[in-house]
Each structure stands twice: as structure tokens, then as C-alpha cells.
């Protein structure tokens, strides 16, 4: 039986997009958490971390409440784009984002905070705006750790199962990601398909982990 490679491509696309969004959003959140003092900072930190510890079904349930067709956001989305958000591959991106964002925020915050403050102080006395200081000094000095976090976040969003199943479903050729496809293949006795996809995903994850390891800052 020929293997349908669509789930793999879909998973790669979903992981790529969710990682990109997580990077943009995560860097901003990490910057705010690392540099600003405000009330509720630790609460925000806890909320961002929550997806790492909650069961996928709980996350999926929350997501359905927030982006489901009857929710405020869901109706607004349908009003603008003419079709619902849930049970599309876009919902799978949001599901993956729930996993990649906490990883990225945590690692990026730690990376930004680990940059020696004297560099930032020096940049300030030299007249650099906070914006320039961030892009030209802090970020380049933290970038290896952040790239490593990006690789991990990518690997994590490649493999999401539970949340994706709940908000995007398992529509072959449309929303069936590779993790879901493996489950379906095992359920229906397609062990050859399952085995191939398992091997491909494992290899991809190994390569990404090796890459992340190499990106981690060397101890000097």
C-alpha cells in the first residue's frame, strides 16, 4: 500500500508556522518578563508555563472554548473569513503553538537574563536606545540559546497529538498531522505505514535534537 506523505508535509508546515509565531511572540514575552517589573508578572509566567503541565485534553477543551464556533473569537473569525477556524489546519497551528510557546518563552527568558548586565549598561551609557540595545547586543549574545530553544520548540510542535486531535480533528488530506496519522494507521492495522512514519518522525526528532545540542552555548 502506497504511503500517503501528506500528514508529514502538513506536520512540517504546522510546526514551521507555529514555531515562527512562537518565536515572535515568545521573544516579546521573554523580553517583557526579563526586563520589566509589573504586578502579576509571576502570574503571567505561570500561565505561560501551564501548557507544559496540563493534560492535552484539558488544553484542547480550553482551546475549543476560546476558538470554537460559538465563542466570541470563533464567531469573529467566521465573520471575517467566512469559514470556521476549528477543524482546519490553522487550528492545528494554534494547538502546536500551545506547546512551542512555553518552551520558547522559558528558554528565551533564561537566555536574555543570562547576558552579562555590564554589556547592557555599557550600551546604555553609549547612548543606545533600548530597541537598539536589544537587537544589537542582548539578542546576538543570547542567540545561540534561543536558536536551540527554537529547534526544541519545532520538534515539540512536530509531534503534538492530543490537542491537535481535539481542535483540528483527523480529516485525511486536510487536518491529519503525522502524529494523528500514526494513531489512525495503528488503529486500522496499517502497521507498515505506522512503522514508516514512526521511523521518519524519530529520525527528524533526533536530527533536530542533535542540532539543538550543537547550538547550545559552549562553556568557555
Amino acid at each position: 500500500m502506497p504511503i500517503d506523505w501528506f500528514p508529514l508535509w502538513l506536520s512540517l508546515r504546522v510546526a514551521f508556522l507555529s514555531t515562527a509565531v512562537a518565536l515572535a511572540l515568545g521573544l516579546w514575552l521573554a523580553y517583557v518578563l526579563a526586563n520589566r517589573e509589573f504586578r502579576g508578572k509571576e502570574v503571567l509566567d505561570a500561565v505561560i508555563t501551564l501548557p507544559l503541565v496540563l493534560p492535552p485534553t484539558v488544553l484542547g477543551y480550553y482551546l475549543l472554548v476560546v476558538i470554537g464556533r460559538t465563542s466570541l473569537f470563533g464567531r469573529a473569525w467566521e465573520g471575517v473569513f467566512g469559514s470556521p477556524l476549528v477543524f482546519t489546519w490553522k487550528a492545528a497551528v494554534i494547538a502546536a503553538l500551545l506547546h512551542s510557546l512555553p518552551l520558547l518563552v522559558k528558554s528565551a527568558r533564561a537566555a536574555l537574563e543570562s547576558v552579562d548586565h555590564s554589556y547592557e549598561r555599557a550600551a546604555r551609557t553609549l547612548g543606545a536606545s533600548e530597541w537598539r540595545l536589544f537587537w544589537k547586543v542582548t539578542l546576538p549574545l543570547a542567540q545561540r540559546s534561543i536558536f536551540a530553544a527554537v529547534a526544541l520548540a519545532f520538534a515539540r510542535s512536530l509531534g503534538d497529538f492530543g490537542v491537535t486531535l481535539m481542535v483540528a480533528g483527523s480529516i485525511p488530506g486536510s487536518t491529519q498531522t503525522v502524529a494523528v496519522a500514526i494513531y489512525e494507521a495503528v488503529e486500522s492495522g496499517n502497521t507498515a505505514v505506522a512503522r514508516t512514519l514512526v521511523l521518519v518522525i524519530s529520525a527528524a526528532a533526533l536530527i533536530i535534537l542533535a542540532l539543538a545540542k550543537r547550538l547550545e552555548p559552549r562553556q568557555s
Binding site: 552579562d116 555590564s118 554589556y119 549598561r121 555599557a122 550600551a123 546604555r124 551609557t125 553609549l126 547612548g127 543606545a128 536606545s129 537598539r132 544589537k136 547586543v137 546576538p140 549574545l141
Partner: protein
Amino acid sequence: MMQVRLKKAFPARPDSAAFALDLEFETQSGVTVLFGPSGSGKTLTLDLIAGFLHSDEGRILLDDQILYDGASNVHLVPQDRNCGYVFQNYALFPHMTLRENLAFAAERRPRLDRHRHVNEMLEQFHLADAAGRKPHQVSGGQRQRCSIARALIGGPKLLLLDEPAQGLDAPLRAELYETLRQVRQKFEIPVLLVTHDLDECFELGDEMLVLRDGKIVQSGTPHSVLDQPANIDVAKLLGRFNLLPAEIKILDPGRNTSKILLGQFELEGPYFKGHLKGDRVTLCVRPEQLTAVPRESRLTPNQIHAVLERVTERPNSMRLEFAGNIAVDMPRAVWEQVHETKEWSIEFPTDTLRVV
């Protein structure tokens, strides 16, 4: 010209005692040294002037610009203060070449000027050859010069240096002093330098402020501070004195003389302003000001008998330590001639005697 008045209190914490900084000073162009032991508030003062921290109250005026004024709630961010800061670890951006480090700092200059300015500074600080290398690829001296050049390239109105010679070996230290002397000549801005090395105060300082527990306990030229410490704490801080308990017997302002009793011996000193007859004081005299001589049958004036306990070698002299905590420095050549002496006298020259 800079006027500084600062107050900042830190309450006691489980891991640190309470600390309060409260100081006021004024500097002209030239190098002002903040001298004091660690924990006296030297670096804190620099950080408050640079704007890294908020003061509780006070005012910082640099030329005609108010950098900070507690009363009217003016607190310029470090970016707007125009203070060059040389950090203890230099804080050169490790991911940039030396040239890029300077260019980063030159953004304050007009766009067309920048390139020329960077090149000029590279020349002036002998960095042209290393300009394309990153900080970890160049020598310690080059790093040091680059950090000073970087702090100066934006045309600051004040230069702050936080223990720049800390941890440097002697040749690098000499190189640093030479660089800073040139900076003092070419850039006519006030320089504020933090150190706990008295030799450095003399190498570089036009003025010196002695800090202790967050307060200025003495100020003046390094020479004047060493010549007459304000009190026993300053004398201990400077660490160059024999501090000997004594009593004032006679004070004669008319002849500008005094007599003080050191143990059983009477010494003649200059008139001590601000002291009274009978005061118990501490005689404060440096080892190199004293002379040790083989004892003769009769003591000449201002000599005391002393028992030699220990001799140690120093780079430029021998240090003779006598009973009663009196140290005397003696040139090596002299020591060679008298080293077999058993009984000693120490001579206290009248005009070198100070009391605190």
C-alpha cells in the same frame, strides 16, 4: 565641572547589612579618585552618576545640565547623561570587532563623521592593527585601550572608570596609566576613577576623595591626604603609617612647636592645631620618614631606644620592625653597613610628625 549630592539607603537584608550612601562633592576637569575599601560605596557612586540606579535624594549637575534632581523629579536615563563609563571587565561587546565596538558607540556622532571618528580613535589608541579582531582575539592592553576609546568616542562630558587596573599585571598597569595620562591631556573632561590602591591615586589623581561607609571622610590632593590624614580611620585606610599612642605634653603656637610623650620618650613636633595639652592622640608617621641608627651612649633629641624584632625585604628597601609596632624603612645599601647592629635608636624628624 560637576557637582554631586547623593543620598541612597539600602535597608538590611538577610544576606547584607544596611548601608547608606550620603555624599557631596564637586570636581573640575582632571582626575578625581574615589578611594576607599570595598563596600564603601565607590562603585555605587559611579552607578548613581551614570544613571543605572535611582538615588533617594540629591542632585547631579554636569556643566550646566541637570542629570538628576530628586526635588524636581528629574532623572535622566543613562542614554541621555553623556557619561563615558569604563567597566571593570571592560564590557566590550564580545560579538563585535574592536572597530564595530567603536562604531556602535559613535552613533551619537553625525552620520558623515562616524567613519572618520572611528578611524581617528583607532589610530589614537594604537588599535588600527587589531581593529578587525574581536575582543577575545586581542591582547589585554588592546582590550583596555579599546574600552577607553569606546567610552570617549561619543564625546562624553565626563569619564567614569571603575577600578580599571584591578587584576592587571605590572606592565599592563603601567600602560593603562600612560593611556589615562594622555586622555587627561587630550580630552578636557572631568574623570572620576574608583580604586582602592593608594599608588594609583598618586599616579593619576589630581584630587582624591576618601570614602568610608558611604561617606566622604577626607578630600584633597593625594599628597595632602597622605601628609595629614583627617582621622585615625583614614590613616588606617591608607595603610602606610606607624600609628603609635602618644600624649601631648606642651603646645607652643608662637614657636610652632610641641612636645609629645611616646612611652617614656619625649619628642619634639610641630604645633598641632586643634589639639589641647594633655590630649591622648595617635602619632602618625610613615616608615620611610623614620631613621634607624645604631644606638650611641647618649640619645640625641627626638630619638628613642628600640628593640629590633624582625627584618623583611621589600622591593626598594628593607623594613625593620621594632617592638611597639614601629616599622622603619631603610635603603638596602644602608642596611648592608649596619645589619650587625644589636642595639638601635629610632629618629623621629620633627617636621614629619603628625597626630590624629
